[in-house]
């Protein structure tokens, strides 16, 4: 199988290290999202796979073929790798059909029919072929860009933030379309994005980059629920990070005892906000209590800020007061000042304690 294998890739621009010993294997036919804050090196990595950047050291292989190694890079036009960028980059001086035909290697007589078929596959009516790129909406342009990249039947498709210029509603529709078209064709796909939701929903594996290094790679659930450090945890979504004392699989935190991963001892634990439930406190119950500080309506949920109320019995707890922001679903209205009981659902993930 032609897995895409990146080994010890290094790249620096002057003093800035863009890629620092990045190794990543992308299985043939799989779908990988590379995420990270801007400047983390994710775009550099993608451009190196496409052949637009030359590595300082390291290698990139596609199955048996070396795309780049000590002998130098294969020029991008011989790599058979598809590439779709944020704005689509349609050629403005060509019709839509000519754009799609641009990269085809089929005999000329077959190209017209194939272009029409590709446009249909990305969900565009056949008469779009005669139009000019600027006459299309952003979403349509992105569909054409995908059809054009598919025309050469590439083994790998690189997507460089292709959805971020689109409106929110359209974005999901285009993402689902791209996902199903590439999935049916069995094309290995690498998506670069700074939108964690997009990465988690699109990919079967997520690779997280930070400061030029690949800090974690795993399934969306793994990286979301078991991030390697607090920074990654926060990047992938809202996170509640607490100091805790872990003993035999139970973390003692200011929210009370919580099941937790990791060895015993002082640790840092992470909870996702959806693991925290609040209910109006009923008298002097056991467990952790808090008070609603502020809330704002967000449609399906209330964004609610809760202040934890310290309790004299929390001897093991290292922190004494804290504010959390969580989303409370439904119409339930918990006005500011309400005292609530705090419960934690599921297991907390723990990392070595913050120094």
């Amino acid at each position: 199988m032609s897995d895409l294998v990146i080994t010890a890739a290094h790249k620096r621009y002057g003093k800035t290290i863009a890629l620092d010993a990045v190794s990543l294997t992308i299985a043939a036919g799989s779908r990988v999202a590379i995420v990270g804050p801007s400047g983390s090196g994710k775009t550099t990595l993608l451009r190196a796979i496409a052949g637009f950047e030359t590595l300082d050291a390291g290698s990139i292989r596609l199955g048996e073929i070396a795309l780049e190694d000590d002998k130098g890079p294969v020029p991008s036009h011989r790599r058979q790798i598809g590439y779709v960028v944020q704005e689509g980059a349609l050629f403005p001086h060509m019709s839509v059909a000519d754009n799609v035909r641009f990269g085809m290697i089929d005999p000329p007589s077959a190209r017209g029919g194939k272009a029409a078929e590709l446009l249909q596959r990305v969900g565009l009516p056949p008469d779009v072929g005669m139009r000019r790129p600027h006459e299309l909406s952003g979403g349509q342009q992105q569909r054409v860009a995908l059809a054009r990249a598919m025309a050469r039947s590439p083994k790998v498709m690189l997507l460089d933030e292709p959805f971020s210029a689109l409106d929110t509603g359209l974005r999901d529709a285009i993402r689902d379309m791209v996902s199903s078209v590439l999935g049916e064709a069995g094309i290995t796909t690498v998506l670069v994005t700074h939108d964690q939701k997009e990465a988690l929903s699109f990919a079967d594996r997520v690779a997280v980059m930070q400061d030029g290094r690949l800090v974690q790679a795993g399934t969306p659930e793994e990286v979301y629920l078991k991030p390697v450090n607090a920074q990654t945890a926060r990047f992938l979504g809202d996170a509640i990070i607490l100091n805790a004392m872990v003993q035999d699989g139970t973390a003692h935190t200011l929210l009370g005892p919580v099941r937790a991963t990791g060895p015993s001892g002082p640790r840092t634990i992470m909870l996702r906000p959806e693991q925290v439930r609040i209910t109006p406190a009923t008298g002097e119950g056991q467990g952790s209590r808090g008070r609603i500080v502020a809330r704002s309506y967000e449609g399906p949920t209330w964004r609610t800020v809760v202040e934890h109320l310290p309790d004299a019995t929390d001897e093991m707890v290292l922190e004494t007061a804290s504010l959390f922001t969580i989303s409370v679903p439904g119409p339930a209205s918990l006005p500011a000042g309400t005292v609530v009981a705090i419960a934690v659902v599921g297991e907390a993930h723990s990392f070595p304690a913050r120094s």
Partner: protein
């Protein structure tokens, strides 16, 4: 829908703009009048004759050889400087524009002194390319800089090797810049007089001036002028047809990344050689010739009793005319910013088209009009100044418009609500704020006028001696040495223009 509010002072300035536009229509009225006045029989005998055929062939050959060569050179140089790792790119980007500082007729003066036997069509082609290449280089380089590299990368990812990407993706995007620059060069080729006299190549412009100098206001010169105007209109039409109305702007709104520079590898020395040779020809030869004649002439050629009055007269004429041009340009520039509309654009076009006509046509028209209608104005400074105004009006409008656009219209309204009359309100706010920009644009117009030769030769009253006229008189007598100080002064006067042009093209991407 509510009617759009009429800006303060609209009526007065619109009336003034209409008046200037009417003045601008003088050359076209002249050409139409010539055709009707002469009668068909005379038109036929004077236009359909071997001499005109020969001039037409010369003009077509000149354009057909110069333009493709100039386009290929400009695109190659712009690509080398903007898109490759050519050593010394910063310096080259200046040196490619610098030939503009040398007036075209000084270029050919340098070449006829450097290589006395270099005459005819090929000399005319070569010197034209050296003198006018920056008009193509500037817009092409600016377009190359603004091109979205994602287009080229996408084409490469679609399996196209670099050469194919260049011809199918890059070159089509440069079309507007190429045709715009080529039009500018072509109009200069039609209008230029001095360059072609010195390379002994007959064009309509040289023939008209010759005719004019032997028989003032003769029908022969006027009808040649008519043919020349038709040629200009054909070029203008061809350019807008070739350019089409297609959209070449980038689709989408994201910020544009700078393109990677391509490594030339061992080819870089060949590329260096190419730009070096061009620079030696376009700058080295004029500077070498000039220094040589200045050296040979020594102190004797700096006859201050002649140089200083010429400098003074040129300065007075250029500044006076530039001031008038700026004032005449203000109404339309203001309208185009404050009250853009379809009729305003038509009015603006009337201001622009004269700038595309050769100086000889403007001069012929003014001579004919003054002789017929106002003999007292014939061969006076007033007529010369009006000719300058017509020729340089577009430059002034462009310069003024950007500085007016920076003054907020609320200030005019505020001033008028504080009880100022409309014109006073505009003068105290917009005019005041636009002053620095207006001063710069006046200076640029003045520098252009200072180096104008053709219309000056035809219209200047007896006794006028500008730098260009002095230079031309000495060159005609083959006294290259005495001409050298005047050439040097004209080059020095042109330098600010070159700096500004390069700066502007970097800023907005078009000249």
């Amino acid at each position: 829908m509510r009617r759009r509010r009429t800006p303060v002072g609209f009526a007065t300035l619109a009336a003034l703009a209409v008046a200037v536009a009417i003045l601008c229509s003088v050359p076209l009225l002249f050409v139409t009048w010539v055709a009707f006045d002469s009668g068909w029989a005379e038109v036929a005998t004077l236009v359909f004759r071997p001499k005109v055929g020969e001039l037409l062939v010369n003009t077509v050959l000149l354009l057909a050889i110069t333009l493709p060569l100039a386009i290929s050179l400009a695109v190659s140089f712009a690509w080398l400087v903007e898109r490759t790792d050519l050593p010394g790119r910063g310096l080259w980007s200046w040196l490619m524009v610098a030939p503009l500082a040398v007036p075209a007729f000084v270029h050919s003066y340098a070449w006829s002194a450097f290589a006395p036997g270099f005459h005819g069509l090929w000399a005319a082609v070569a010197v034209s390319i050296l003198a006018y290449l920056p008009f193509l280089y500037l817009p092409v380089a600016a377009s190359l800089r603004r091109l979205d590299p994602a287009l080229e990368e996408t084409a490469a990812a679609l399996g196209k090797p670099p050469m194919v990407v260049f011809f199918r993706i890059v070159l089509p995007q440069l079309r507007i810049a190429i045709w715009g620059g080529a039009l500018l060069v072509a109009l200069h080729l039609l209008a230029e007089y001095g360059l072609f006299v010195l390379t002994r190549f007959d064009t309509f412009a040289t023939a008209i001036v010759d005719q004019f100098q032997s028989v003032y206001n003769g029908p022969a010169a006027n009808l040649l002028g008519g043919v020349l105007v038709v040629a200009c209109l054909v070029l203008l039409r061809a350019e807008s047809a070739l350019r089409g109305d297609e959209r070449y702007a980038r689709i989408g709104s994201g910020s544009i990344r700078r393109a990677e520079r391509q490594s030339l590898g061992p080819l870089r020395w060949g590329a260096m050689g190419l730009v070096l040779i061009f620079t030696l020809f376009s700058l080295g030869v004029p500077l070498w010739t000039l220094s040589r004649w200045l050296w040979l002439g020594g102190a004797a050629i700096w006859r201050l009793d002649a140089v200083l009055p010429a400098l003074g007269q040129t300065a007075a004429l250029a500044l006076g005319a530039a001031l008038l041009t700026t004032i005449a340009a203000f109404p339309i520039a203001w309208l185009s910013v404050r009250a853009p509309s379809r009729s305003q654009r038509l009015l603006e076009a009337a201001h622009y088209y004269v700038g595309a006509l050769p100086g000889v046509i403007v001069a012929l028209a003014l001579v004919t009009i003054t002789v017929r209608l106002a003999p007292s104005l014939y061969q006076t400074m007033a007529t010369l100044v009006i000719a300058y105004m017509l020729m340089f009006l577009p430059r002034a409008v462009v310069g003024l418009r950007s500085s007016i656009a920076q003054a907020p219209p609320e200030l005019e309204r505020a001033a008028s609500s504080l009880g100022k009359r409309p014109m006073v309100a505009i003068a105290r706010t917009t005019l005041r704020l636009a002053m620095p920009g207006a001063t710069a644009s006046t200076a640029m117009v003045a520098l252009g006028i200072a180096n104008e030769l053709t219309a000056t030769l035809m219209l200047a009253p007896n006794g006028t001696r500008t730098l260009a006229m002095r230079f031309w008189a000495y060159t005609a007598e083959l006294d290259f040495s005495s001409a050298a100080p005047y050439a040097l002064l004209m080059i020095v006067l042109s330098l600010p223009l070159v700096v500004l042009l390069r700066f502007e093209s970097r800023k907005i991407g078009q000249i």
